[in-house]
Each structure stands twice: as C-alpha cells, then as structure tokens.
C-alpha cells in the first residue's frame, strides 16, 4: 500500500492539538511511518501545494480569508479530518459569537479595529464536508490514533454518542454532583476517557454535545442542585456556541 500524502493545516486555534502529535513521543515515528507528511507548517519548511490524500485541519474558520483557504484545501484533499474542538465544534473561539462583532473588535484593537476583519466563528463542517472528526480540546491522543487507523483502514470512525459520564463511571471517579459541583459530563460526548474528571476538574463540554441530550432533564437536575440556569448556559457556551449556527 502506498503511504497516503498528508497535509496538516491550522486555522484560528492555539495549535495545541498539533502539539499533541509531537507529544506522542517516539511512537510518533510509527505514526509518521504509516503516512507521508508533506506539509506541516509548524515544524516543516517544505511546501506541497499538490493534491493530498488526507488533510488534517486544526482551528475554526473566523474570517473571509479562512473560508477561501479551507475551500481550497477541501478541493485538494480526498479526506478531510477536522482535528480538535476548534475545528469540530468551533471550540473556545465560538465564545466570540456571544458578542456583537464590531464591539469585540473595537474592544481588542481600538481604533484600528477595521484592519481585523472577522466573521462569526464556525466549525469546519459548517463550511465544507468533513469525513472524520477528532474531538477534544486538546485532542485525546488515543482517539486521534484510532481515527488515523480508521482512515488508513478505509472504515468510518464513529465518535461515541453517549455521555462522558459513562467513561467517568468506568474510572470510578467520585461524581462532581456528589461534590455539589456542576459538570457537563451528562450532555457531552464521550471519547476522552473522562480526562478532566479523572483529574478532579469538571467536564467543560469540549467534545460537543451528544446527539439527543435531554435538555428538560438537565434543567431539572440544575434546579435540584440550585444552580442558576444562566451560569450553566454560559458554561455550555464556552465550547458549544457554534451549535446555534446549525
């Protein structure tokens, strides 16, 4: 089998998900042994520009220039992998959509705000077709490797459509609700092995919501724990604001 040609591209993001690849350690050489990375700006000077088998796309689409660029990448690539929360669900960049865009531009850049065109933050699939999703902020390496293997095998990868609680319980964590703290685990898609709760923090919903969350039920739970609704909505919006754009 010929090694697939892979390009790694970044849009608005912190590049932490790319860094996760380097964080695999020596095993990354096995990963790189199974693919042929031809373009990866963060660590390579080589530029490719030709057709690709796989495009790994990190970051959200936040300005007109980015829209054009992602469309070009889609045309060149047989398979597009949305990589990390910013790409799969808009991620933290989506918080921008909570504000009036001109207002937020003026706040950050003052009088020069006009030089910084921006648009509502969007996830990659909200602009072009995406074939595989690697969720998470940052991506969970074992899941990334699983997706990569699925791509190489030519089979679909299904992001778990059940909540983080499942994995959290398998790890036998004390539930955050027992500590009287709200956690977005019950409405967030699993696949991270309950990373944050394993480390005694709460789930912030970085992997996006399950396909059929029980919103009424969730509200009742919040009422039961006397947690103000806007606080939780605010928290939901940290990663999931772009959901509203459809």
């Amino acid at each position: 089998m010929k090694k697939p040609k892979v390009g790694i591209f970044d849009f608005a993001c912190c590049e932490g998900c790319q860094l996760q690849i380097a964080n695999i350690g020596e095993d990354v050489l096995d990963v790189l042994g199974s693919i042929d990375v031809v373009e990866w700006r963060e660590v390579m000077s080589e530029k490719w520009g030709k057709n690709l088998d796989i495009a790994i796309v990190e970051g959200s689409i936040t300005n007109p220039h980015a829209v054009k660029r992602i469309q070009k990448i889609r045309k060149k690539a047989k398979i597009v992998i949305a990589y990390g929360s910013c790409a799969t669900i808009g991620g933290v960049n989506g918080m921008k959509n909570n504000f009036n865009l001109d207002d937020i531009r003026k706040y950050v850049y003052g009088d020069s705000y006009r030089f910084f065109p921006t648009e509502m933050t969007k996830a990659v699939h909200q602009i072009v077709k995406v074939d595989y999703f690697v969720n998470g902020c940052p991506v969970y390496i074992p899941e990334f490797v699983a997706v990569l293997k699925a791509v190489l095998q030519g089979i679909p990868y299904y992001v778990p459509d059940y909540p983080v609680c499942v994995e959290c319980k398998l790890n036998e964590n004390v539930c955050m609700y027992d500590r009287k703290v709200t956690c977005l685990g019950p409405v967030t898609r699993a696949g991270c092995n309950a990373w944050c709760i394993n480390n005694c923090n709460i789930c912030y919903g970085c992997r996006g919501m399950v396909s059929n969350p029980n919103e009424k039920g969730a509200q009742d739970v919040l009422a039961k724990y006397k947690i103000p609704m806007d606080l939780i909505l605010n928290k939901m919006n940290m990663y999931n604001k772009c959901r509203e754009l459809g």
């Binding site: 095998q153 030519g154 089979i155 679909p156």
Partner: protein, 278 residues
C-alpha cells in the same frame, strides 16, 4: 496480569475462504464461502453466522444457501457500515473468520408435509433463500409452495436469475412486486400485501414464513390472520443489533427473548404480545 489461551472460547473463529463473489445490486453482494481446515458448516435454514474481519469487527449475517449444499455456503451482504462495506472490498481467495451457526432457524421438520407461504421483503430474501433452496432440494416433502417477493425498485431485485427460475418452475407459485416501477418494468407495482389476495391457500395446513423490514410485518401479519392462518403457523425472522451471539451482550433482547438464541425465527404466537417486537 496473567494471560492464557482458551480452547473452548465461544469467540473462537473458524477460518473460511471466499470462493467467489458476485455483485447483485449497487449495495448487495453475494459471497460463496467454504470453511478451511476440512471443516463443514452444519446449519438450518434461517440460522445466521457471525462474520469477522479482524481489526474491523464482526457482524451477524444469515446463511442464504441450502444446508444440502455441503461443501460451501452462501451469504448475501448489504453494504451499510464499517464491516459490511469492508466485506464488499474482498474477492475470491480472501480469508475471513466466522463463528456459528447461531440461533433457531425455520423448523423444517415441522414444516414438512405442509403448504408454505413464503413472503420476503428486500434483503429478507436472504434467509428465505436458504429455506426455499432447502424446500426445492426436498420438494417432495412439502405441499404447495407460494413465494411472494417485494422490493423498492426493480434495480434492487436480488438473485434475479434465481427468481426467474422459481418463476418458471411449475411446482411452485411465485409472484413479485416493486414499490416504484421504472420504465422497463412490466410486473406488479405496489407494496407486498397487494400480492396476497391472489394467493389461494388452505389456512390450516399452511405455514407462512415472513422476513422483511420491520414496517412490513404489521401489515403482512394482519393479512395472514385475515386469511385464517393460525398464529402458531406464522414464522417471522427478526433483525436486531448483535455483538456476541451467545445470549449475553444484551443487544438483541426483545423483552425477555434473545434474538440470537431464542430466534431469529419466532412463531408469531410467541411474540405477538411483546411490545418491543414490532
């Protein structure tokens, strides 16, 4: 942590070789398969096996050939997802893993000496082909045989050459219909129940074997009962999500029944009161 091999594991695979494949429609492919290492698959019509592609997964598939065909068996597989799409990429000579057969098939010993009304919708023809071939192989042991087949469009017609052959045989009654015709179609148009008034049966000595998509069952059963076929003599085969085939993983449960062990073929009488069945 210690690790040992288990000889009797119910997850042990038998190696099987693909003898030939044939594209039946855009989504369905036919496979003729033989067990390797001199083994044979002993099965009843209506039983299924678990087909494995190592590294991808395992899926339940009905055997669609007659048990009389000793040295090999047939599968008909629709490409819908991970495993089935990958199976479609295989060709003659490739090796797969199988385990089984599993479940309860059609009770051929009980059917013997009776008339049969076989009703297949779409891919439901797969398990029924096994029964039909068995009946044809042992034609003398059965009374009248009616075969009704329906599918969405003419291009979805599976085993069309065999259908042709059944149609020509004088010792059975065959009729088919499509939901939507195309310009070349000269046959019946309409859902499968539209074929039923034309079938002349003796209800008390007729067994009906019905396999098709879930929505088909409600309508067909109503007709069969209207025709006076006793509930005990209506046989249905069910499809559910399945992982182990051993009655453990819980996926295929219809209330207290496990499709993989108690089914997939059930008497209507056995399940008519189960809300989760329909």
């Amino acid at each position: 942590m210690e690790k040992v091999a288990i000889k009797d594991s119910s997850y042990r695979l038998k190696k099987a070789k693909i003898l030939q494949t044939k594209k039946l429609t855009a989504n369905e492919k036919f496979f003729e398969i033989a067990l390797m290492d001199g083994e044979r698959l002993d099965y009843e019509p209506g039983q299924f096996i678990m087909v494995s592609l190592l590294g991808i997964g395992e899926v339940p598939i009905s055997v669609c050939s007659s048990p009389a065909k000793r040295d090999s068996f047939d599968l008909c597989i629709r490409a819908v997802g991970k495993v089935t799409r990958s199976l479609h990429k295989l060709k003659a000579g490739d090796v797969i893993g199988i385990r089984g057969p599993y479940g309860k098939g059609f009770p051929v010993r009980i059917l013997e000496g009776n008339d049969l009304l076989i009703i297949a919708g779409g891919l439901g023809i797969a398990p029924l082909r096994s029964l039909i071939q068995y009946v044809l192989d042992n034609r003398r042991d059965f009374g009248k045989v009616h075969i009704l087949f329906g599918c969405k469009e003419p291009k979805d017609m599976l085993f069309s050459d065999e259908l042709e052959y059944w149609n020509e045989r004088t010792d059975l009654h065959y009729a088919c219909t499509v939901d939507r015709a195309d310009p070349d179609w000269a046959g019946n148009v309409g859902v499968i129940t539209t074929l039923m008034p034309g079938v002349d049966i003796e209800p008390s000595r007729t067994f009906a074997a019905v396999v098709g998509p879930p929505i088909m069952y409600n309508f067909v059963i109503k007709e069969l009962i209207a025709k006076g076929i006793p509930e005990r003599q209506i046989l249905l085969s069910f499809e559910r999500n399945m992982k182990c085939g051993n009655g453990k993983c819980g996926r295929c449960q219809i209330q207290n029944l496990y499709v993989c062990q108690d089914g997939p073929v059930f008497h209507y009488e056995q399940i008519k009161n189960l809300n989760e069945a329909f």
